[in-house]
């Protein structure tokens, strides 16, 4: 190894992860922010994989634990767990799928697929980029799943396992292969039928001299069969499903129109009275399938029906009869003694038996600043232990734990049949169908009086030309395009219906912690005697040695050069005491510093006191900071909605909130999860359509009882409670723009309805006069489809641009 030198300079960029820091570790003229990043570089260099750095600039992940957390993947030694995780196993060869949420660029792909060069025993690895899943094939005699998981963690790609993995259900929706096949077949047939129909349309009355016509028609007849039987089959299924539930969906009139078009075309061909409408028919099928595929695509990356199982780990370490065993979560029994290591999630409610716990409840409450608890305290499932290991005596099983049971209870109540279309689309299609039948009857009555021979002509023409496919097309295309536009801006909607629901909202209820506040970077304030530069160096040096997350955040906050530590002793859960040169530095709780009576702390947050050479200097307060730009957002929302803040905390931050929210905002504090749910239910039953904006499991009840639940998360690939939409925390300030988008979408759909009706009127004009011929149909059909697609695409892109959203 070549020499590593510490440099003190202005901020530099880490060659590996791109983090900006003033104190870099230089190695071979490259800068690294920490030993973790450097060690990854060295692994890559050793294995000749430095191309990794050529595809993207600073592609790496920041490494929190350069040594890896070996104990974390103990469960991968358990044969029972492995059997459920292995996707393939024969002899010595096993395949395992790792979910790696960190995957983000082509460098990741390069590195992960070259895993076999880094770790012996790995035969091959293949990454599914959109799913962020790495399939690894390895030889069980040379390496184990646990070792591979550790190697991945060391490279910065820590695999994520959840209870869901052993539940055996595949939660990620797949892009339907069958739909792709149907689309391909429909496209092929549509193109060829169109081509073969041209001679007929452009013959201008010239007689068929060469006898080509019957041959062309035969080929068309052959080509239409797969369209009708294979490509269109999903419309039959949907229409039939609607019929069975006695509910008129938009697929029914479409299927009806298709059958009429097909029947009449067959009749025309066999009676030699015309070429039929086969090209329009196959075109309809092709365009509709295309629209639905577009809608599907938006949902590939995100799942909404996630539950707590995708957040909880697979197994926990249980201390039984003097041995540490890995036990799968459902098998944990009451009074089992669990050992919770650093960064592990507490799987069941229980009592803290030994050790001082520092628990991050951000998943449960949204509060990012961890809570310190003493032995004997009650801990809730879902919290993440930070720092040293603790022992927890299980008091409940997984499914009975407080928050999980809250979740399950809600889930049963919240079950409702899923509908694909928004309400107004249903209504529009119902009126449309009704109007169509009336028109057809009128045309029939008219021709019965004047020329009965034309009844059949007119009625079928009316029904086939006014196919509501243009309606469906405008809806699916507009929805699909809007959903993907919004997804690009960090706003993921569960479905088009949700977007429509946004238009009915009258009141918005905000949760405070985790929703209005940020969970990533807490704000740090120092109070007390001013520290000199030398003293700051001392504090930074000592805090860097601590394993406590608060101390680490302080060291990051101070960002100082590293001094040599003579001696440092961690007191888990209390503080750290260390010597640097001639100075003694202590950081920790009030009790640890023995300053209980000396100071009074007004501000809420986590306390870390500083003592240098036995003298108390002051203290740091860590608290979650509010997200930026909230004030503008609230001013924007105030004009349209009633606003409410529901907070689980006390009212110590009321004055801060008053600065953000308008004067008439209702603020309620000390709300428990059930209180929040009841508050929202009360609003809903008072006919005040409510949007609940929350995060974490404690808001799950309120999110579900509201008309529109909006879950805020900082990482989409991680858990968020069931909701109508998921919004990335950074994009919260754009919420006002999203509301405007939902209104715009409604307008665009109405306009495209108008366009399709206009085309229909033209078609019907010919139809009721019994003058519709296949050529007019063949021009009108694609023209209306293309106009609508272009219109909705241009209109929605323009409105996104006007609202300054990313396109």
């Amino acid at each position: 190894m070549k020499q590593t030198v510490e440099k003190i300079n202005e901020a530099k960029t880490c060659y590996h992860c791109g983090a900006k820091t003033k104190h870099v570790i230089a190695f071979e003229s490259l800068d690294f922010c920490c030993n973790g990043c450097l060690s990854v570089y060295q692994i890559l260099e050793k294995n000749n994989l430095c191309q990794y750095y050529n595809f993207n600039e600073n592609p790496g992940q920041p490494i929190d634990n350069p040594d890896g957390i070996d104990s974390k993947f103990v469960f991968l030694d358990d044969e029972n767990v492995l059997q459920k995780i292995y996707t393939f196993k024969q002899g010595n060869e096993a395949h395992i799928t790792f979910y790696l949420p960190q995957v983000h660029c082509s460098s990741c792909l390069y590195l992960l697929e070259n895993l076999y060069k880094i770790h012996g025993g790995v035969n091959a690895a293949k990454l599914n980029f959109s799913k962020k899943e790495l399939v690894v094939a390895f030889d069980t005699t040379i390496t184990t799943a646990r070792k591979i998981a550790n190697v991945l963690s060391k490279l910065g790609y820590e695999p994520y396992f959840s209870l869901n993995d052993i539940g055996g259900k595949d939660s990620k929706p797949k892009l339907s292969k069958m739909r792709l096949l149907r689309l391909g077949v429909a496209g092929f047939c549509f193109g060829n039928i169109m081509l073969l129909s041209f001679p007929e349309y452009f013959s201008w009355g010239i007689e068929d001299i060469d006898g080509l016509k019957p041959f062309f028609q035969l080929v068309i007849l052959v080509l239409i069969v797969p369209v009708m039987t294979f490509s269109a089959s999903e419309f039959y299924k949907l229409a039939w499903g609607g019929l069975k539930q006695k509910y008129l969906n938009i697929d029914l009139p479409i299927v009806l129109a298709m059958f009429i078009a097909f029947g009449r075309s067959l009749y025309e061909v066999f009676t030699h009275s015309g070429p039929g409408y086969f090209d329009s028919l196959s075109g309809i099928v092709f365009f509709m399938l295309l629209g639905r595929l577009l809608q599907d695509k938006t949902y590939q990356k995100i799942t909404f029906d996630r539950d707590y199982t995708s957040y909880f780990p697979i197994s926990a370490t249980v201390f039984k009869e003097g041995k540490e065993l890995s036990v799968q979560l459902p098998d944990i029994e009451i009074n089992d003694e669990l050992i919770i290591h650093d960064q592990e999630i507490i799987p069941v409610d229980g009592l803290l038996a030994a050790g001082e716990a520092c628990i991050d409840y951000s998943f449960v409450t949204g509060e990012s600043v961890p809570v310190t608890l003493n032995a004997g305290s009650w801990v809730y499932a879902g919290g993440r232990q930070l720092g040293s290991s603790v022992r927890v005596l299980a008091q409940k099983t997984v499914s009975q734990s407080y928050l999980v049971s809250l979740w399950n209870q809600q889930k049963k109540e919240g079950d409702e049949p899923t509908q694909l279309e928004s309400n107004y689309v249903q209504k529009a299609s119902q009126y449309f169908t009704l109007g169509l039948f009336i028109l057809a009857t009128l045309a029939a009555i008219y021709w019965a009086n004047y020329d009965p021979s034309k009844i059949w002509d007119a009625v079928t023409a009316v029904l086939l030309v006014a196919c509501p496919c243009a309606l469906l097309l405008s809806v699916t295309f507009t929805h699909g395009h809007f959903l993907s536009l919004l997804a690009k801006n960090g706003f993921y909607l569960k479905g088009p219906k949700s977007l429509d629901k946004m238009n009915t909202i009258k009141q918005i209820v905000f949760d405070k912690t985790g929703t209005l506040t940020q969970s990533k970077n807490p704000s740090i304030v120092y109070e007390g005697q001013k520290l000199t530069s030398d003293e700051l160096d001392l504090v930074a040096a000592i805090s860097k040695e601590s394993i406590h997350p608060h101390a680490r955040q302080i060291s990051k906050f101070l960002d100082r050069a590293k001094l040599g530590i003579t001696e440092a002793l961690n007191y888990p859960g209390q503080g750290i005491r260390g010597r640097i040169g001639t100075h003694t530095v202590e950081l920790g709780s009030k009790a640890f510093l023995k300053i209980d009576n000396q100071i009074e702390i007004i501000e809420k947050g986590s306390f870390i006191g500083v003592k240098i050479d036995g003298q108390f200097k002051g203290y740091f307060i860590l608290k979650s900071a509010f997200r930026p730009k909230l004030m503008q957002l609230m001013q924007e929302l105030e004009t349209q909605f009633k606003l409410t803040v529901l907070s689980g905390d006390n009212d110590s931050e009321k004055s801060l909130l008053k600065g953000i929210f308008p004067n008439n905002t209702n603020m309620i504090f000390n709300q428990k999860p059930l209180d929040k749910r009841d508050f929202v239910s009360a609003l809903e039953s008072a006919d005040c359509t409510t949007m609940m904006v929350g995060d974490g499991l404690n808001d799950a009840g309120a999110l579900m009882s509201s008309s529109f639940g909006l879950a805020i998360t900082d990482d989409v690939s991680y858990f968020s409670p069931g909701s109508d939409a998921i919004l990335l925390g950074d994009h919260l300030p754009q919420l006002g723009a999203f509301f405007k988008m939902s209104q715009k979408m409604r307008n665009i759909i109405w306009w495209s309805f108008a366009i399709s009706i206009a085309y229909n009127v033209v078609g019907l004009f010919f139809a009721v006069r019994a003058e519709l011929n296949p050529m007019i149909a063949a021009i009108l059909m694609p023209a209306s489809s293309i106009t609508i697609v272009l219109f909705t695409w241009i209109a929605s892109t323009l409105s996104a641009k006007m609202l300054k959203l990313k396109i």
């Binding site: 293949k126 599914n128 959109s130 892009l175 391909g184 077949v185 060829n192 081509l195």
Partner: protein, 53 residues
């Protein structure tokens, strides 16, 4: 006359071969992860190891 029929059969065969290629690629899952394939093509081949099933 007959030449038109021959040409038409040929054109459908050509289009059909594209359809078959598409169906094959859709069936073997080549549309499932378009991003990864787009990246893979940029990476120089050394010795590519495939997962055998």
């Amino acid at each position: 006359m007959s030449v038109v029929i021959i040409l038409m059969v040929l054109s459908i065969l050509v289009a059909g071969s594209f359809l078959v290629a598409y169906l094959w690629s859709a069936k073997t899952g080549q549309f499932e992860d378009p991003d990864a394939n787009a990246f893979r093509i940029l990476i120089d081949d050394e010795k590519v190891r495939e997962i055998k099933k």
